[in-house]
Structures are given as structure tokens and as C-alpha cells.
Assembly symmetry: C3
Homo-oligomer: 481 residues x 3
Amino acid sequence: MMDEERSNEKCESVTLSLMSEAVSAPTECEKRVCVFGTGDMGRSLGLRLLQAGYSVMFGSRRPQSCNFLPNGAQVLSHAEAAQAAHLIFIAVQREHYDFLVPLAYHLKGKVLVDLSNNLKKNQYPEANAEYLQSLVPEAEVVKGFNTLSAWALQNGPSDANRQVYICGDRAEAKQVVLAVATKLGFSALDRGSLSASRELEDFPLQLFPLWRLPMRIAVGLTAFFFFYLLIREILYAYITQGKDISFRIMVSLANRVCPIVSLIMLALCYLPGVLASFLQLYRGTKYRRFPDWLDRWMLCRKQLGLLALGFACLHVLYTLIIPIRYYVRFWATERTVTQIRQNGTNEFITSRAWHSDSYLSFGILGFGLYVLLGITSLPSVSNALSWREFSFVQSKLGHLTLLLCTIHTYLYGGKRFLSASLYNWYTPPGYMLCLVLPSVVLLLKLLLVTPCVDRNITRIRQGWEKGADQRNSKNNKTLVL
Amino acid sequence: MMDEERSNEKCESVTLSLMSEAVSAPTECEKRVCVFGTGDMGRSLGLRLLQAGYSVMFGSRRPQSCNFLPNGAQVLSHAEAAQAAHLIFIAVQREHYDFLVPLAYHLKGKVLVDLSNNLKKNQYPEANAEYLQSLVPEAEVVKGFNTLSAWALQNGPSDANRQVYICGDRAEAKQVVLAVATKLGFSALDRGSLSASRELEDFPLQLFPLWRLPMRIAVGLTAFFFFYLLIREILYAYITQGKDISFRIMVSLANRVCPIVSLIMLALCYLPGVLASFLQLYRGTKYRRFPDWLDRWMLCRKQLGLLALGFACLHVLYTLIIPIRYYVRFWATERTVTQIRQNGTNEFITSRAWHSDSYLSFGILGFGLYVLLGITSLPSVSNALSWREFSFVQSKLGHLTLLLCTIHTYLYGGKRFLSASLYNWYTPPGYMLCLVLPSVVLLLKLLLVTPCVDRNITRIRQGWEKGADQRNSKNNKTLVL
Amino acid sequence: MMDEERSNEKCESVTLSLMSEAVSAPTECEKRVCVFGTGDMGRSLGLRLLQAGYSVMFGSRRPQSCNFLPNGAQVLSHAEAAQAAHLIFIAVQREHYDFLVPLAYHLKGKVLVDLSNNLKKNQYPEANAEYLQSLVPEAEVVKGFNTLSAWALQNGPSDANRQVYICGDRAEAKQVVLAVATKLGFSALDRGSLSASRELEDFPLQLFPLWRLPMRIAVGLTAFFFFYLLIREILYAYITQGKDISFRIMVSLANRVCPIVSLIMLALCYLPGVLASFLQLYRGTKYRRFPDWLDRWMLCRKQLGLLALGFACLHVLYTLIIPIRYYVRFWATERTVTQIRQNGTNEFITSRAWHSDSYLSFGILGFGLYVLLGITSLPSVSNALSWREFSFVQSKLGHLTLLLCTIHTYLYGGKRFLSASLYNWYTPPGYMLCLVLPSVVLLLKLLLVTPCVDRNITRIRQGWEKGADQRNSKNNKTLVL
């Protein structure tokens, strides 16, 4: 107790300023940062810096004529601002960098952070940051913060846009920027030397890069099956029986294409995983890279799956509105009328009821799981899952979904698989074509989960290597985790 | 190699404690923080502080009688605790601040963090933090952490509640609190002087502030169209033909109101953007603020859109259950019966099939995109999008959705637009009224995307100003980014 | 101005390196960290450390034979690496820890971070970290980072996996690891002494722990009601009337079970809250722990609700496909036919239309709110809500949903409650059974919101205690916040 008292006394004497020093408060000089450019980006950045406890100066050509600047910030001429701080953010468009040349003297040894972005890729021969460096060779140019929007800067970092990427040639300069980024609440990643800045400048310009391939596949499949069915059903009916059933394009045809594309894409989403396992089995190791095409394929599985889900949703909607269609309502009535006119009776076929109901039921359950998969692939949800949980959902439930949907399609076909009448112009109906791939995937998966194969896979995944001698394999094992 | 060896030797000698110093471990004295109040909030905060490596003391009136305190924490009397630490968190309700007055001497120069919240806005004349400061004038009161829930404190900061807002009059005091917040894993924002604390105290009390306006609009529109249709359809039928079709209120009427409101609100969600563009065109600059009403409107576009989506979903559900309704089933049968009794035949009208199918098809596609927009506006999803991707989805796809839904509605109207019979009591049917706004928005948007107009807009967005002389405009350009 | 000039001059003189020091850049020696094990985990960690500005050395048994290592990293022998750095990450499987024993001398006083995980719980007698400590007693073992996936390490921390848990016996060692974790952008939590490492090692192995109980309940209820209805409807029909309506299992039966289970689980999700309130009322305090079973129950309310939502969705789908079923279409035709044959007429009953429509309408509105609740329980959405907003949605809207769904079910029953004919084998139909619990919950809730009761609850929630004398209660009040 006695001694605690003393320590307390000690505390009493510590002065506040001392304390705030201790918590690594930046010194007067680093606390001063400068922002060139008072556009949206510059202003937002300045505001944020102020809020993080920095004293901010804006460098402007006409200090007196700047509006909307966050209060608390000084506005100086470019030259004054350049002298006043060591860290200078350049929030100016590349076309106007030349105004920095006359300031070269003041910028000597300063850290210039290039925030600029371009309107399109390869707009200029070299990256903006490299161009800036060439203009003021004696300054330390660091590329960074350009992936953030002014909005993100103002509203504080949220999950995805917490990442700040920086690159530059001098380690100390990067350290400074990195530290500021951290103080602003971002987590900064060093992406190497200034030559990488081109890459950083392309980030904000990319438009769904991962969705490109899946999108192309989706469009391709849709187009193919649309015309395939158009020909073998509507054209066929028109040519052979002279019937005009073109109106079916809007709903009936769409409702054939959607499920077909959806099922195929779902299969495409699980095929690469299966292939990869077989490749590992064949090679007997997990330490060799997959061929590029397989890597790329595996990277866009999520997108494939989500597009497949989209088509599945359309299929469901198209199916549910069936009874509202004029066409359907009309023929329902007609059937009744004719039946009465012919005074015929048709009795209830239980087997058919079984068939239609189970077909629908499998579809519903499959779709339910489908949606579940979609939900778990939302960033916030998948982040909340442990790795084991995620793989359970995406692999186990995923294959179950594929199984249910495949059964659903087989049931849809029902007995019809046999009736030759369906093979208009000797072409198989769409649902038969779309069943090929899923069936293959399911069969391969079935092979993989057979105990003996499964054991090998597991061993390999844990780092075991085929034909590795004792010492060697042991050593490899040590590398596993 | 040689020299690396040396540096290694050097390392050997460094002692651990030294290392941990180097990584700016707080000194004995700052490591000690004190928490007054052992309620949920106090306990959670204490636990979190302990986990972050602080030594925590709770100040309590009856130290011996405190339960559930996180183990590792000391419990002292208020006076002892006050002496023991420099940073004191006040997790006590405002009504009981008076217990601090006798401690004033010990609190001299200490940093008091006021965590309190009120039960309703303007409950007290001045903010709790200001009241606290008035009680212990010689302490440094900082307002902060009050926007966090005890739950968020215990479970560690997740995306949205990583933000901690602090305000206070003394910079050093704020630095200390800011540093602690950072150590706890929060990103703290300085919101200015203590006079801003009222604002911070109102944060946790606000109930969907951004949803107010859209909600009012939704309710207003719903009420209006409900009564409008009630009168011109149900009342009309009752008065003119004496038919009681009141039962239609439950489904038919609801299914008229929902799509109408949904479409209008979707249009309202894209109108402000269009207006803003025209304003910029007219003014020839982007550097002048928009009128307040437009700003407010633009800020709640997301909410408008989501409400519109809600109504669209209801519309879909109401439409899909149509065939299950007794009313519908009944009349379907009746039609067949009468047709047979009159021995009449009605033949199949392809054009009608086309019409009904395409009407449904456009609805489905529109709704599909609608939902897609909704999903991309989930925080976690929109955060994961680059700015360009987000604007692509929200602007391009958004207007496409509006277009599809408008076509859907036009097709619903079909030829009926002309038939005078529909204008009961000279009032147009609801779907005509709701088509006005979307059509206007689409037309204006069409104007904006015409090359010549588009070019001007783009130039303005890049900072060009109408009638700005060379030097001036250049200067402005420099401010753009 | 004059004096600002001076301060500027002062700045000029500061050298960059000095600055980066000031922003607490680690010294040469701490900047050096070592990673044992070059598997996925080791490599990802190494890469991340490099990006955060550390100089990384990999320790490997055969330095020359390591592939895919992030460039910029050195590869040394274990011994060299061990000497070179103070902080050593052990990314090696437990089976191979023995290779550390010969290095014991070099590891003296070093900080070893154990990243290992096991394949299943209780795989080994003691935790890996404790085993490691026993192997190299003179090193400072810290358990941590094991909850992260290699993937999370490479792609930078996102919302949920920002948390890093560490535990160890020596405070300084933990400080070092904690600091590194922070530099890597994670928020580290100290989970106590090394004896807690078993717990940390179990984290990645858990599979939806919170979903277990709700899942069991769901499965149990589903099974019970499935067989209950199977017997009293399908078996009953078969035995008493010899009719085979087994096909109904697929859709009709499923569509009975789903809504029943959904409603009961929704009630189960709001029951504990009501019970808790009554318990607090009865005890007259909020400062006593709830019985464990109640705590556990309250913790899995979200999961209960989401499962209930899942069943509700299935119910909706099963309902919407009704008109497509062969069975339904068949009987619709039959009804018409018989009606005509008997030349009978059936007139339209408005009351029935009212009944069927309002039954459907309540269902739709209930389901709409249901989905809304589901959406707000997405992590990213609920994080974005203030506590007041969240409780408003989950409590107010939640009970409203329950109310609507209960009314929906009552209306479904309609007049039939009275008709004895339904009580096959003296058993009540399913929807009656499932109405019991919701009705009870709603009644209790109704009691709680009556002014007098509500006032007491509020007082207790604010810390008031029954029969507490002045000083006592005041003291407790002070603990409230």
C-alpha cells in the first residue's frame, strides 16, 4: 500500500503534456502537414488530417480566393506551404504538376504524396507518380491514398476501404506516409518501389475485373441456348406445322434458358475444385502451382456462383407467374371445355401427382440452399465465418445444392427422356444438354469422397509428398502449416 | 555476412523490456487508468482496457460490494482511484455527477472522459460533459466513447462501430484519449471543442434520421393513392352500380398502390441527380453549393430507393398469390361455365399473348435489377466496390431499372389508355398518374446523355468553369482533384 | 508571420530519418522478425510483415530449396534465423516442434509466437503452445494469430477477421506481439496467460457453435410435426377411407410443416426476452444473473429467428407453386366439369372473398417484415445501426411480425376451429398446436407494455432496485450507466 501511495504521488507530478508526449504524440514539426490542391479530395483529406490532430496548411495559387476549406486549416501560397511542412500531399491533376517545378528548391528532401488518378488506363506514357518524381527529382515521391474516395476520407474508414496502398523508392519516406495513414485510421500496405505506382493508379479505374470472365461465360451460354431453343422449338413449330408461337419467346423461352444457364454455371463453379483435387492426386503434392487457366478459373468461382444464382432467381420468378399468363389461362379453360364437349372423363393419376410434386419440391429445396450460399458469400457474412465454417457451407452445402438442382432437372425430364417425339430435327431438348456437366461434376466428386481417395487427398493437403525420401518428406512436412 | 553477425550479436544483448519500450509501450503511469461506475458500460470498458494491456482501477462508493468486475482490475474508493490515475472514465449517469464535487482536489489536472448518454434529446439545459466541466472546473473534461454500446466494447470494434468521436477544450487531453482509443482498436475522430458534446450526446438517441423524409414521402403517397383508388374504384362501383366489392381492399387495391408508390419513389430517387446536373450545366461550374433542399434530397436517395424496393417486393408477392385467391378461382370457373352454357367459342389471340407475356417479362427483369441495386447498397457490398463500380451500378443500372419498370407499367396500361370507359368520374386510373414522374426523369436523363450535353457536364465535373479567364480557370483546374 | 518563418526554418533542418524515427519507426533490431516454416501460413505472414516494413527472415532446414517465398525476405538456416531476430513466428505443425530443441540456446529469451492449429479438438493432452513452452522453457512463448487464415493475412484484415487473440505468461512478450499485430493492421486482444491457449486453438475448429441449439430445435420440431401430420392426415385417409394421398407428402405436407415450425421458432425467439423481463420484475433488480438456461437461450435468439425465416421462405415458395401442381390443376377442372354436369350454380360469397384475401394479405405483410428483420441482422447492417435503432427494429418490428403471422394463422383456421370434422382421431390440426406458443408470448408482451408494468421495468433497467434503502439505491444508481 505504502509503495502504491508513492507511485501515486509520482503520478500527480507528471504533467499532461508529458503524458501526451509519451503516447507518441507527433512533434510540432511532423504535426504540420501540407496539402496542395483544394478540390474535393484535398479538402476531405485536410479535414481528416485536422481531425486526427495534425495542423494542416493548404497550398494555393490564390490563397485569398479559396472557399469551403475546413476551418482550422491555414491557407498559404504554394511556396510558403512547401517550406512549412515536410509532408506534402499533392491533390492536383497531373496536367498541372508543372506548377511544382519552380518550387523545386523548397521541395528538396520533402516527402510528396501523389494522390492523383487518371480518367482511363494508359492515359499517359508513365505513371503520374513517376512523372512527378521526374519533375522534382530531389523530393521523395510516394504514391498512395489514391484508391480512397473523398467520401471515404470524410466519413472515416469502413471495412473495405480501410486499405491504403503506398509505394515509393525511399524507405524512410514510406515510413512517414505509413505512419500518417495509420494515424488516420487506415491500414497501409507497402506495395514496393515507385515503379509499382502505375498499378496503384489503375486500381480505381478497374470495373469488376473478377466478373469479366464469368460474365462472358454467362452471356455466351445464354446466347447459345436462346438461339438453340428458338430454332428447335419456335422455328420448328413454324416450319413443320406453320404454327406461330413466337410469343413464347418472352416467357416460355426465357424460362427454359435461365434454368439451363444457371445449372451449367453452378456446375462450372464446382468443376475447378474437383479438377484441382485430381491434379494434386495425380502429382502427389500440393507444392506445385496449378496451371494458370485453372488458377484464374478458381479465382472467379464466387462470381460464377452468384451469376448462376441470378439466373436461378429469374427462373423462379418466370415459373411463379405461369398461372397468370393469358396463354396458360386460355388453354386451361379450353381443356375443360373440350373435355365436357367430348363428354370424356380423365381420372386422377397418382404417379403423375407424385412426379409433379417431387419435381417442384426438389426445385424449391435446391433454390433455398442456393440462396443460402448467396447470402454466405456476402462480404460481411463470410468474414464472420471461421475458415472451417466457410468451407463447410461453400463445399458441402454447395455440392448438395448442385445435387438437388440436378435431380430437379432430371425429374423435369421425367419419362420424356425416352420419347423420340421430343428430338425435333434430331436435336436433344435443352434440359438434356445442360444435365451433362452437372452429372460429370457430381460423379467426379463422388469419386473424391470415397474413403481411399479421400485419405490420399487429406495426406497431400497436409503436406505429404509422393515418393519423397524420409528426410526430404519430413523437411517438407515442417513447411506445412 | 560478417557485419550481419555483428548486428545479430548486438540484438542478443537487447533486453525484452527494452524492446517492449521501443514499441511505445505506455509507461507505468499512463498504463494506469481509472473507471468510475461499475455498470454494464463501466465493466465492459474496464475489460477492454485490461485486454489492451492497461492496468484498470474501478472507483466505487462501496469497493467491497462490487460484483461481476473483470478480474485483474482493482477496486478502490473514488478518492484512491482518482489519485491513482491520470485518465478517468466517468461511466456514471449525469444525475449522480455531484459525487465528484468532493473529489475536485484529486481531479485537478486529470483527464475526465464523459461517457454518459441521455434518455431523450434536450433532457437537460446543457450537455452532460459541459455540466461535468462546470462541476470540476480544474479537470480536463473530454467527451467521447458514448456512441459505443457496452456490447461493442466487449466484442471488439467491428466495421461500423470502429468510430469513436471525442471533443474537448484542451488539445493535450484529447491527445491522451485519442491515443487510448487507438490502442483499444478504435479510430477516433476529433469533433472539436467541448461545446460540440451536445451533438455527440444526441448521436445514440437518433432514430433513423436519414429515413425520416423518405418515410414521410412513402406514407404520404401510399395514403393518397389508397384513398384515390378507394374512391374511384370501390366507392364508384358501389354508388353507380350498387356492387359491394369492398373485399378488394385487401389484395387488389394493395396491389395497385404498391407498384404505383414504388415506381414514383424510384423516380424520386433519380430525379435529384438529374436536376443537379442541369443546375451545374446552367451555372457552368461545380464549385457552387446546391440549394439546401436539393442537398437534403440527394442525401436520402439511398433510403428512397430501398423503400421503393420494399414496395416492389410487396407488389411481386401480391401479384404471385393472385391465382390462389378465392375471388380469382371463382371467376375462372364462372367464365368456363358461361362459355359452355352459351356454347360460344373464344379463339386464341396471339397479340394478346404477346402483350401479357412481355408485360410480365419486363416486370420480372425490372424487379431483378431492382433487387440487384438493393444488394449493392448493403454496406459490406458497397464498401467492396471501387468508386467507379459503385457509380456504374447505381447510375447506369439504376436508370435501366427505372426504364424497365416504366415500360412494364406502360405495357400494363396497354391499349386501355384510350378507352374512355376507364375514366370513372373523369379521374385517370392510378397507373397513368404514376407514369408521369418516371417519364419525365427518363426524358431528362436522355437529354443529359446526348453527346453535346454530356461533354459539357464532363468538363464541368473536371473543374472547368464557364467564362473563367485563362489564369483563373487554370488556377481552378489546379484545385480539381 | 516572422515567428512562423522561424519555425519553418527549424523544420527545414530536421532530417527525414529523424522524422521517421519520431513516428516511432521500429529500430533496426526490432524491425527484424523471423518466421519458421515456409508453408502457406508462413509465407503469407512473411509477405504481410514485409509489407508493414519489417525485414523478414525465414528459417528453413534446407534454405536453398525453398520456393514461392515473398521476395525481399532472407532465407537462413534455423540457427542463423534464430540468432538474427528477437521475435520468431513458429508456423510449423506441432508434430515437428522437436526440431526446436537443438536451437534452445539461440532461443533463450526470445519471443516465440505459436501459430499452430490442430485438426480436431483435444487431439493432444496439452495445448500446442504449452507443449512448445515445455520444449524451450527459456523462451517466451506467446500463442496468437492462429485464428487467422493464410488468406486473411495476405489480403489484409477485413471487418470480422481484424481480431487477433494472444495469450502468454510474460507481459513484455505479449506487448511485443501486440505491437506487431497492431502494425499489421489487426486489433489484438490479450486473452490472459498461456493456459488459455487451448481455448484459442479451439477457435478455428468450432463449427457454428451458436447454431447448434437452434438447429436441434428446428430439426426436432420438423420431425415431430411431419410425423404428426403424416399420421393424422395421410395415414388417416388411407385407413379410414382407403384413399392413397401419399403424394401429398412432397408439397402439401411440407407446406404445413414449414409455417408451423417457422411460427413456433419465431415465438421461441421472443419468449426469452419476455421471460427475462418478468424475472427482473419479480426480482426487482437487473443486477442478478439470469439462470444459465435463459442466458444460453437469449444468446441464440438471432439464430432462432434466422432459421424461422428460412422456414417462412420455404412456406412462401411452397404456397406460390400451388397453382402449378398437377393435383390442383386437375381438381380445378373437375370442379368446373361436375358443376356443369349437375347444372348447378354457385354464387359468389363476399365474406369468403374477404376472408381469403385478408388471410393472404396478412401473410404477405408478415413475411415482408420477417425478411426486413433478417436483413437488419446481417452483420454489416446491424453494425451500421445505433443501439436504439437496432432495438427498435428487433424488438418493436419483431413483435409486430409475430403478431401479423399469428393473425395470418388464425385467419387460416377461420371458422374451422369449431367444425368437429377436423379432429381426426381426436387430434387437433397442426395450425392449432402451433398457435399456442405465439399467443402466449403476445399476451405476456401485452402485459409488459401496459403503462404500470412498463414503468417498473424501465426503472429497474435504469438500475433501480426493489427494497434498496436510500444510500444503497443511490449507490447502485451510480453504477448504472
